[in-house]
Amino acid sequence: MLVSVDMNGKSVEVEVRENREGLLEVELDGKCYPVSAQVLPEGGVSLMINNESLTVYRTGDTLYIGGTQYHVHADDPLKKELLQSSSFKAGEGTVTAAMPGNVKKILADEGMEVEAGQGVVVLEAMKMENELEAPLAGTVRKIHVSEGQSVEAGTLLFEIE
């Protein structure tokens, strides 16, 4: 599984695999860490990276390691890319598909008022459902796709104004 991790404003991609023995392999910056993980009570995880023992507690996006808080947001890189490329490519209110996929669901009607961040179209790509959100608050001017439709990368999906 590819995971995108944001920390201190920087974003890195981390690959997490599980090998046959059930041990995790975590790849970061070209280095591979073998990790044995044990979920603990009350939001804890014990990680052993090689034999280093690392005990982590988490609430939301905050990790607690040895008395220090780290603000770390982990997410699906695909979803992030879709969202970012979608909302940044065309005009502020125009959302396009970042990669080929299938329109799973339409969550808003044309003419509807939406909040910024409100889901408008659900796109299925690489077996993952990604909710594409309104990049700004406004009215749904036009939805260019319909449920079940296949789309190519770059297809115009909807416009908010």
Binding site: E21, V26, S36, E42, Y57, L63, G67, H73
Partner: protein, 495 residues
Amino acid sequence: MFKKVLVANRGEIAVRVMRTLREMRIRTVAVFSDPDRAALHTLMADEAWPLGGTTSAESYLMGEKIIEIARKSGAEAIHPGYGFLSENAGFAELCQKNSIVFIGPPAEAIRQMGDKVTSREIMTAAGVPVVPGFDKPDMTEADALAFATEVGFPVMIKASAGGGGKGMRKVDSPEGLEKALRAARSEALSSFGDDHVYVEKFVQNPRHIEIQVLADNHGNVIYLGERDCSIQRRHQKVIEEAPSPFVTPEMRQKMGKTAVQATRAANYRNAGTVEFLVDKSRNFFFLEMNTRLQVEHPVTEWITGLDLVAEQVRIAEGLPISLKQEDVRLQGHAVECRIYAEDPENNFMPSPGTVQRLSTPAGPGIRDDSGIYQGGEISVYYDPLISKLTTYGPDRETAIRRMCRALSEYIVAGIKTNIAFHRKVLNHPEFADGSHDTTFVDRHLDELMNTPTGDEPLAIVAAAVCYYLDRKPATGTGQVQKCSPWKRFQRSSWM
């Protein structure tokens, strides 16, 4: 011996006072505001009486109401903790009028020491060194300028009724004097209802060193060594220690004797603290007298072996102090870190909320005086101090290393705290060699904020693994075991 004592406070200090009362087999009475129905001090007390109200003014500052509860509950005495009504002379008088013992100094001593100008006068008369200053009821700009020219700039303008940095202005040159005077007066008026200000010489890069004193009704006054509180942020103490790495044995004795002089001059009783500013040449000047228990009293308790709250209660009961000056033995070294619910990365903004997880340090030489518990709420209405963590060791280095270890075990999740900030201060070479002064935090703020811990890549790996574990399908592999404790708890009949 008192049978029942009301604690007119909340949070960690109410809890700390109640612990000693319980050890003395004295029944404890808590008072609580509406948001504090489930606060630790309410839960820990033998009796708890509702004050109503939400803000401090509506609850813990309601002197009349607290007296009424003391009478109804049959409490013979009131311990005010620190803050709230602890330095309110009117409240001390009200207690007396109602034949309730106020566990603290006489009202008159509170009143006199609470006024900066009066206390300066009393100390000067008693031969206690004060920062050179100038005060006249109708001080003009010309008066102030003449004084400033004599002692040299910079000078400080301070409100007579002041405290907490309000009505205070530093003036670096004659040009700024008029504007600073005006601003200080207006701030003093709006903060304290009194625009009386005075001028003092500004002590450059001072250390803040204070002497703990005890005085009883039998004429005994003793000092219990010093505390060094030079790690401050905006006049707010952050880390304290005892003894001070800056104080020599001769200086300790001299400061101690001076503090005893000051205490006698103030006609003081009970526990108090005489605060001094100390310059680089080890000259010390009376700053103010705090007429109550200090937040940082545990470091003195560590090195003396005494329980200062127990001493306060005994003195209030009319008993003599439990030891003589010659029996005071200072042994080892203690450090205190004040744990605040605040966000150092966001200008130290208070950070109220739910304590979702709490893991407190333990083991040798650790003491945690906390007012919170796991699952409890940190209210937006009161002080963000959630705990005083203190450590002890045979020497300063051991105490500091122990504190670093303790902080590494301390987890308070759900809110922001200054735990990591403390570790950075403790690991700073200037703190380690003890050469710091009260400007330390300001001078090193950037460095203290932005130093990476080195564990950042581990945090990234951990975040990725947590994300993976959240989403991976449940398979029966050996190394990755998911055992949800919630399921277990939910099965119990309770939930």
